[in-house]
Symmetry: C2
Subunit: 684 residues, 2 copies
């Protein structure tokens, strides 16, 4: 993939790069050499006038060659000085002492009389800024690919996390909002970078090492290092053990040269997720500066460069193992809560109840937040994406979820740009798929929007869409969900695990399947069976009455066409066959909403709006017509699911959720384990 | 290359995409079919209860198949109705009349008794939104690749120009600032897009065609179309012949369906160049909308999509043929002007003089602007990039250059962010090069900045750097130029054409080459020859005096090390050998500037700061020491250049430019022809 590099990348000197330097035939020079480079001098340029021959001799640690090549018979036998003769110098190992190596160029006149000597006193240094470019969790030495980033199993390039958790549970702040290291544990959320040096005890006078970043990158990272002298006295919770090397205001900073064989650790902290204006790539440079004199800028004579990519935020599909389930407790949802408790605890997962002091009556746990995670080779933790919906649950993600190794991210939108489609019941993710040979091993994000052909409809707000697209690793699909009053994709679709085919099925609400079931009931003599029987909050209706209502049929035909439209997109974008899709018998009705537009709501509890916990499904109890004492809708649902080895538990959400236009899924949320697949192994 | 597509791309239905529709076994349906798609109906879904068999018959224009395939013996022999049976329908040509084709599905019971008929009255349409996706200047019909963009000679995708010229010479505005078509000639700067339709005289009731774009893309284009009825009455200069179909505020608009075999032209106008936040790609969609009923949104049942890329701004290196030369006339530059006139007119090019009422004494024609061009297969014109420098020449680019087929672009920076490095003597471009196998057939942009290792230095302002990088086709190289008082790359480097090797030489200022020449003079007995001899505005100095001044030698050693640093970068980034580089004998001196930093200026007129007009070079007259009546610096320069077949003309710029810290190049500008190479043929 192509990537924009910043202008200053041209300053980078890579391994084996040549550095031109000036030979001085009049006095001896001290020259600092860095392992992996080649010093290059034009022999003619500084030769005394009338020089005709030259010879070179050097101490054992120094190697040289002449370009264009000449026949060198012995070190001291003079060579004809060509106008283009160039001397190339390398050194085989780092110096133990300053100026411990030497090279002399001797110039001769026509009669091989010595005209002058150019003497170099050489010091060799080894300098390597190192990162975990091979992504194994260990900072290896001088990876040849550390200066670039490549996706895929044969790729390379280090990974950076946005330090979006909070080391503190109380009085907490995002760690990115704090520009010091509050606790040692925070280092685990950063990427280690090691400066490895080898050479004499100190750098020659005036030379120094500087770490530097571009102005653009400075907005996205901080770099810390332990204070060398106080490190041993470091106490957890005390920040003074670390210094900020680079921040958004400090783009370049000197770093110590420790002498001998030394390693200095740095900790790189990511501050922002990839977004529309940030591709996630960060370049950090380390330069060796040569002094010139007072009033002149020091010259970088060697630059080592490393590249990081900020880890994307990754969503977790229904097929991943649940870790914990979240629901709200309200004054009126005791029955629902009891049903959920049974389901979750029987399935062996943890249930978290958000109590009323926090939810203030907002029961839509699905809508306020989306669970995901971020991952680097050395660390992974969950990150909650807080919706700009901001109902009364708005404080929950920050106040209750953010904590040590539990990250938080949000996108701010103007109040006027936020609609019901910004609730995260409208943000789902598919299981892994392959589409026309293209693999999506982390699945694809699914959101709902209005048809782009109209400017009237509601949409998911642009800042959230931009964020989702910029993560790149779960390329989003936009469905048409604005036909629903609430407008969430989870009102007509979900995914369940399956033992065969692609490892999952797409479940779609289907009025056609509903009508087919009801017509079958009627044909089998159950036309008088009643939906909603025994409920005192909903007038019962017979199968016959439903089938006779032509207007209702027309409304459902429209709903079916909307779902079919999405079905076509999903088949195309997820590479699905009809056999990968199961139609669930669900009817809708149209209501004129506040815009005077007709939009759909589920006619009876919307069974597709379920919670998926491994092989256990928690499904809104549909209150369908009973045949031989058993709800025909539940029976059909069970029959469709049991072939996949899934167990259906029907949960009564009628009064406390369904009548408020949501169901089980809208009222719950599941944090799941991350993928085994590492996002950096994607072929992009 | 990877590209971010916008969320709504998922709505695109491509050729051969299937559309699910509902068969109605109870009443006949009217169905609109679009060529290239497949209609798909689940036969079981709407079958009457107890259906066991079915049969299909249709009129000749209709083709169908059953999936999974069955043994069809005759049209009327009933087939067993499988639970998964799907009917796939295509039509071979567009309809002449509404509902002129028909397909019937008949359902049978167990005893092959007819249960019901689902009757489809079909109308076929051909719809194609077309662009010049094969880049030959002609809008071909339904290019299969029109919906994506690919670089390279085997690439595809249409090209859009930023309409940054001004059709009017007087009272002018950028055409992009005017949201109507002022003159018919303006259409040439836009890209034609054709809607081709074939079908009955009108669309069935309620259907309509809509063109639509995303909110992001709407900032970057407008779409116009001729008003159908007034088109024949169209008068040049009258805007009313065209309507705006899409603008930044109108993201979707209905377009007429003309009936029969019809073509409607649209004109797409680019509004912004690629930049940090805009990759240059634009998607335009055309959808066919199906009515549902009042209060329900129409459903897009077919969408055709085209993609454009906005043409980048391209710079022209010295090796391209000059068209016209620009210089300023000031109260004190008569001699310079005379020299330039002779050079330019003798070389056969046009000379444009910017007079004092416009330049107000600002003579730095190089610094205020950079000439470039933009190109599409159907149109190419020059575009001036106006520098944020904004000296007294600031009005010249807009007032004097902008005009019909002469475009203008600028980037606004805060006053405090603009430095001398923002003058475009600091913005150059190399001839075409190949670097480690990577081709740059349009060369590479070269700018000068400070070392990134310091935060003190001056830089080219970020908005201009971002713009240059975003053009992509001449990937920039950043050199170190902050060591100079003025800080422009043209103070130490230029390119001249050459008949051999890579087709050019890089010329570099070289104090070492200067000292070598002066030492040679001294050795040959010319130590008393004087620089600046006969000038009354500069004290003469002998060769001996220069060679004896050790401080001056040290300053020049430093300058040489700065240039060598850049030489290493240029060799690496342009793939040059030493033989591609010529060192010119030029000395510098250091001065303490307003920052109390020592920076360099040319000691005598800086010969590398030349104007290159084909094989004629206009070089600052150096006023070097004379040997046998001839300036030794001029002689050396001529000798170095004549091997390349280049002629040197020395122009006296001493008083009016050199002493003001500029030279011939700084005081002139050259508009050149564009490359023969088309930028879209780059392999990116």
């Amino acid at each position: 993939m192509s990537q924009q590099t910043s202008a200053i990348d041209c300053f980078n000197m890579k391994t084996d790069y040549q550095r031109t330097f000036r030979l001085d035939a009049k006095s001896s020079q001290k020259v600092l050499y860095v392992q992996g480079t080649t010093l290059k001098a034009n022999l003619r340029r500084s030769a005394p006038p009338n020089s005709t021959f030259f010879s070179v001799k050097c101490t054992p640690n120094v190697q040289y060659s002449i370009d264009p090549p000449t026949q060198v018979t012995s070190h001291l036998s003079p060579i004809t000085l060509d106008g283009k003769s160039v001397l190339l110098i390398t050194m085989s190992s780092a110096s133990q002492h300053e100026n411990d190596s030497k090279l002399t160029v001797r110039y001769y006149g026509q009669n091989k009389d010595v005209l002058s000597n150019a003497i170099l006193h050489l010091t060799a240094l080894e300098i390597s800024l190192d990162v975990d470019a091979d992504r194994d969790g260990v900072v290896e030495k001088n990876n040849p690919n550390k200066g670039s980033w490549k996706w895929g199993p044969d790729g390379h390039g280090a990974v950076l996390l946005v330090n979006c958790d909070s080391e503190r549970r109380y009085g907490k702040k995002l760690d990115t909002e704090v520009d010091y290291i509050a606790k040692l544990s925070d280092l685990r959320d950063m990427s280690e970078m090691v400066l490895r040096t080898r050479g004499p005890a100190k750098l020659p006078d005036g030379y120094k090492l500087t770490m530097h970043i571009s102005q653009s990158d400075a907005e996205s990272i901080r770099v810390y290092s332990p204070r060398p002298h106080s490190y041993s006295n470091f106490l957890p919770g005390v920040s003074s053990g670390f210094t900020r090397v680079l921040t958004s205001r400090v783009l370049s900073g000197q770093v110590p040269y420790l002498g001998g064989v030394a390693e200095t650790s740095f900790y790189v902290e990511g501050l922002r997720f990839p977004d529309k204006d940030f591709d996630g790539l960060i370049t950090i440079n380390l330069s060796l500066l040569e002094p010139i004199c007072r009033g002149l800028p020091e010259t970088p004579i060697f630059t080592d460069t490393v590249v990081f990519r900020v880890a994307p935020w990754i969503m977790t599909p229904n097929t991943l193992r649940p870790v914990e389930v979240f629901v709200c407790s309200t004054s009126d949802n005791y029955g629902f809560l009891k049903g959920m408790k049974n389901l979750v605890l029987n399935s062996g997962y943890k249930l978290n109840i958000c109590h009323e002091y926090m939810n203030r009556g907002d029961r839509w746990m699905q809508d306020e937040l989306e669970f995901g995670y971020i991952e680097a080779p050395h660390q992974r933790f969950p990150v909650v994406l807080d919706s700009p919906r901001d109902g009364k649950l708005l404080d929950f993600p920050y106040s209750e979820l953010l904590g040590p190794d539990f990250g938080y991210v949000t996108r701010m939108a103007l109040r006027k740009d936020v609609s019901s489609l910004d609730s995260f019941g409208n943000l789902e993710v598919s299981p892994p798929v392959t589409v026309n040979g293209k693999e999506y091993p982390l699945g694809r994000i699914i959101i709902g929007v209005a048809f782009p052909t109209t400017t009237k409809g509601r949409n998911m707000t642009k800042v959230v869409q931009d964020f989702l697209w910029a993560q790149k690793v779960q390329e989003p699909i936009a469905l048409f969900s604005d036909w629903l009053v609430v407008g969430h994709v989870d009102e007509f679709m979900t995914f369940v695990p399956a033992p065969d085919r692609k490892g999952f099925r797409l479940l779609l609400a289907s009025p056609d399947a509903g009508y087919k079931l009801f017509r079958g009931l009627k044909n089998n003599g159950h036309g008088q069976a009643k939906l909603f029987e025994g409920r005192n909050d909903q007038k019962p209706i017979t199968v016959d009455e439903i089938l006779e209502d032509e207007g209702f049929q027309a409304e459902n035909n429209y709903v079916q066409s909307c779902i079919d439209w999405n079905r076509d997109v999903l088949k195309r974008e997820l590479g699905l066959d009809d056999a990968d899709i199961i139609d669930l018998p669900i009817l809708f009705k149209l209501e004129q909403d506040t815009d005077y537009e007709f939009r759909a709501v589920a006619f009876y509890p919307d069974m597709v709006n379920m919670i998926v916990l491994g092989k256990s499904l928690g499904i809104p109890k549909p209150f369908g017509p009973k045949v031989n004492g058993r709800c025909a809708l539940e029976a059909e649902m069970c029959s469709l699911m049991e072939g996949l080895g899934l167990t259906c538990t029907f949960i009564d959400d009628f009064a406390s959720y369904h009548r408020l236009l949501g169901e089980v899924h809208c009222g719950s949320n599941v944090r799941r384990e991350g993928f085994d697949f590492k996002w950096w192994n994607l072929d992009m």
